[in-house]
Subunit: 542 residues, 2 copies
């Protein structure tokens, strides 16, 4: 069977039937949004099963094709429509809408699969000479429009060949990998040897180490293991101006730290190739899970803050579901009504206020025990009641599943996307309220919010919003709505992104995030490494 | 009394009599180095008590002086020889030699004391227009020649007026300060409110928050509190291209992180003005001190590594004295001979092998207890024997005193300086051996080494070396020797600096530390922020 448009945009394996829980969740949301049956305009679904044909033909010349094949071999240069469509966009909601509508799709002219760093060096040198744009690709789960071929050119996909573990150094607790390795492959390699990398973004299954760095990501266990920038020890990158090797030291005071411009560069400076990460011993049996119900979001956040500032080692996973997300979780499991519902109300955990806090402590047994005991005491003091391990276990079971929900939900006429920010504790509640208020003004809208990344000075806020689709006007409507959310972040002391990055979506907002002088310095650095502007033009800083 | 040259170069208060312990230590070292009485060439001490007169006159013009006074007021512009000499060098051994010999001194033409950020903005704008070089000054304890006025110009000294605490935010656990505040003033302010900053460099008494950032420093408790880059939340800097405000968030994914070029910039990009630091609650009563004797340096390092990789919260202070430093400590207290010496030998802790490990756990009581218990078990497993709190208490008593030793030691004809690096665990012992071997080739030399900053993947190595001075040839001899040590770091996987920085001493080595492409990018960033090259010309990257 020829690949269809659904094969292009679908999250994960298109042929796999939808999970029962997901089906149940969609029915639940449809009811909540008062969507009866398939009453929405389903034009966005019309081309799901048609064969992929791109309006834009590859503009690569015969000579260029020959040259590229000479570098990586004929198997590793593809110019067919499906390969190009697959490398035309990431997984932002707007991307999926554009792919479903076959509108404003910006595919590369060719997809190239380098086999080793020397291939990448040759490719970048060649593209620089010929002024060919290059978009470095990991597994394509960007949600910021970081992966489009604004100016055509080539998509450099590292996942096919450039994905080996190069060295595990037990004495130093480090692992060195090729940047195209996927999360599960790395984690399996490490787990088999008794280690973990500790980086579990929502996109874990479909993201690479290179992508983690490029997007400056943070995983679900970042409270304990750190953000990617805390995990990275060494990094190499191939830029048009040459190879950057940031060295490999526990720490140094040797001027500026280029790693902090490579991380977060989103492909605009070069191709991240070799990465050395700190690893940690992992023993599942030592982990301690906890969950608590709080009478209010504020009480849950206060408990989290006190734990983070307690000077006891904090949990590795540390999350709070706000009242609406809590209600959604309870409702999904039918626990909002009946005995459980009545009991919760009786105990003072009223609907609209009650919030669940989740925690997992990992590491040495005595340490996880102390952590759990400390959190338990703080929770009690703030009127939290233990739910045992239940809620956290349930959350863990579906930790990567929500990404699988979007396609069937869109099929059912439901818009669903997410945005996230980070803010200090003193403005967290204010920001949360303001964003919810903004989102709720948009008619029939569900807004589920959680905190999933926690620090001593503040935390992130992650908003999931769902509403009925607007038919043919969906893209324009959605983008206006989306812009308003980020403006609300900025107005209340939040960043434009905590771990998704900037891409083409946030680029216009950089002057609101950074000082003019910062942008002047950054643009000069970009110009020095990529004088012809071939690296991911149009993304981030351009 | 008119200020003398001794007032220029001496560490701390010149009038204060030398501490008895220091006197004792000097006698001890003289004996070890076989220096009988004052047999050395004492010409380096000849000008100690003569009045300060500089050969180089201030080249500031009458009009410039008027203009500068208009910006900061007449009290805050000084062009007298003493003020200029005080701002002509930092505290590198070579600096002191040059000041003592009155040789190659590079004073600024004027010293300026800005009162607030708007003064600094005006000064930088003025100096940029007039092509006047600017060297930003904290308290002057640089040991890398970062503070010389290579091209004359002005020294911008922030310590006199620009040193206030602006805000303590208890909810966020942060404090915002003006960059010219000294370590003790900040720490006292915080301690009075039950907090600590946790940053205690050796230069604590004579260094500022701005200096900590500019040099990308690390304090004695960095294992627990982090290096300065882990403690900094927000930073503002005035550059010739405008003000950089890096924002104030718990974390963000918004492209490059300019803070990591501001930190470590050593005055070459601009003047660091306002800084927000993470603080922590501090309760001295909860701290747990430990010390252990190990039969070898290797066994002590192995224990340290296992603790750092144990996933139990590590100590806040974590140190090891190598065998020679251990012997020095024991000898100083007369514990190498007599009962203690005999007992140590009998127990297998032989001279030349035995090494002391020091630890202090801070924070929550149950956490410090768990840490101490864990370290105790690891130490036993690696043949360490507890010395109770003794060695650590003794070390704490003199934690800032070694800086006071250099002047009287130089008076006694002894050369003494330090160099430091960082390296992963798998090459730590190799590097330590190689550096010791190099140092010991230099005739009669003492080399005391410790580890004072520890990470999951490796640690620093801090070398203190002392030998008889070489009289009139001292400077040339020393600088050759010094260069050889850093070359040895590089040859064995070490950084050129772990926390001292680069300054003018290490600038020639930047191409050995960083990739060519990194330097291309960094120079472009420097050029963008400081197009005329007025900021600390000659230092770091130029």
């Amino acid at each position: 069977m020829r690949p269809t448009w659904k094969n292009v945009y679908n999250w994960g394996d298109t042929e796999k039937p939808i999970d029962k829980t997901i089906e149940h969740h969609i029915e639940f949301l449809k009811k909540a949004l008062h969507i009866e049956g398939l009453s929405q305009d389903h034009s966005l679904n019309a081309n799901a099963h048609t064969e992929v044909r791109l309006a834009k033909r590859s503009r690569i010349s015969r000579q260029q094709l020959k040259d590229l094949i000479r570098i990586v071999g004929s198997d590793n240069v593809q110019i067919d429509d499906f390969s190009r469509a697959k490398h035309a966009a990431g997984k932002y909601y707007g991307d999926i809408v554009r792919l479903r509508m076959q509108k404003e799709i910006l595919p590369p002219d060719a997809v190239i699969y380098p086999r080793e760093e020397s291939d990448i060096v040759k490719l970048i040198r060649y593209c620089n000479t010929k002024h060919i744009a290059v978009v470095p690709w990991g597994a394509g789960s960007s949600v910021t429009r970081a992966l489009e071929a604004t100016k055509g050119g080539v998509a450099l996909d590292l996942t096919r060949h450039y994905n080996a573990v190069l060295k595990l150094n037990a004495e130093n607790s480090t692992v060195t990998v090729e940047a195209g390795i996927l999360g599960p492959a790395l984690e399996k390699y490490l787990n088999d040897k008794g280690y973990t990398c500790g980086h579990f973004p929502q996109s874990f299954e479909f993201s690479t180490v290179g992508g983690w760095l490029a997007a400056r990501g943070a995983g679900q266990a970042s409270t304990g293991y750190g953000r990617i920038e805390d995990i990275v020890v060494g990094v190499r990158a191939v830029t048009p101006a040459g190879i950057i090797d940031a060295g490999n030291y526990p720490a140094a005071s040797v001027g500026g730290d280029i790693r902090h411009f490579i991380m977060g560069s989103e492909g605009t400076l070069g191709v991240i190739t070799e990465v050395t990460l700190r690893i940690r011993k992992y023993n599942e049996a030592n982990a301690r899970m906890q969950s608590f119900m709080f009478p209010s979001f504020e009480a849950a956040v206060e408990t989290m803050r006190l734990m983070m500032q307690s000077q006891v080692m904090p949990p590795h996973f540390f999350r709070i579901s706000d009242p609406e997300e809590t209600e959604n979780a309870l409702g999904m499991k039918g626990k909002d009504k009946g005995m459980t519902g009545a009991l919760l109300n009786m105990l003072g955990f009223k609907k609209g206020g009650r919030s669940i806090l989740y925690a997992i402590f990992e590491g040495e047994k005595a340490q996880t025990k102390l952590g759990a005991k400390t959190l338990n005491a703080l929770a009690r003091k703030n009127k939290g009641r233990s739910l045992g391990t239940y809620a956290t276990r349930k959350w863990l079971e579906q930790r990567y599943s929500s990404a699988y929900m979007r396609d069937p939900m869109m099929d059912a006429g439901i818009r669903i996307d997410t945005l996230e920010t980070a803010v200090h504790y003193d403005r967290l509640i204010e920001l949360w309220r303001a964003v919810r208020e903004y989102i709720k003004r948009d008619g029939e809208t569900i807004c589920l919010t959680h905190i999933s990344h926690t620090y001593e000075t503040g935390a992130n806020l992650y908003f999931i919003f769902a509403s009925p689709m607007q038919g043919k006007n969906e893209l324009a409507q959605f983008e206006k709505f989306h812009k308003g959310i980020i403006d609300t972040f900025l107005a209340h002391g939040g960043t434009i992104s905590h771990h998704h990055g900037v891409g083409r979506l946030g680029a216009r907002l950089l002057p609101k995030q950074h000082s003019a002088a910062t942008l002047v310095a950054w643009r000069a650095l970009k110009k020095a490494l990529d004088p012809k502007g071939i690296m991911n033009p149009g993304a981030l800083i351009f």
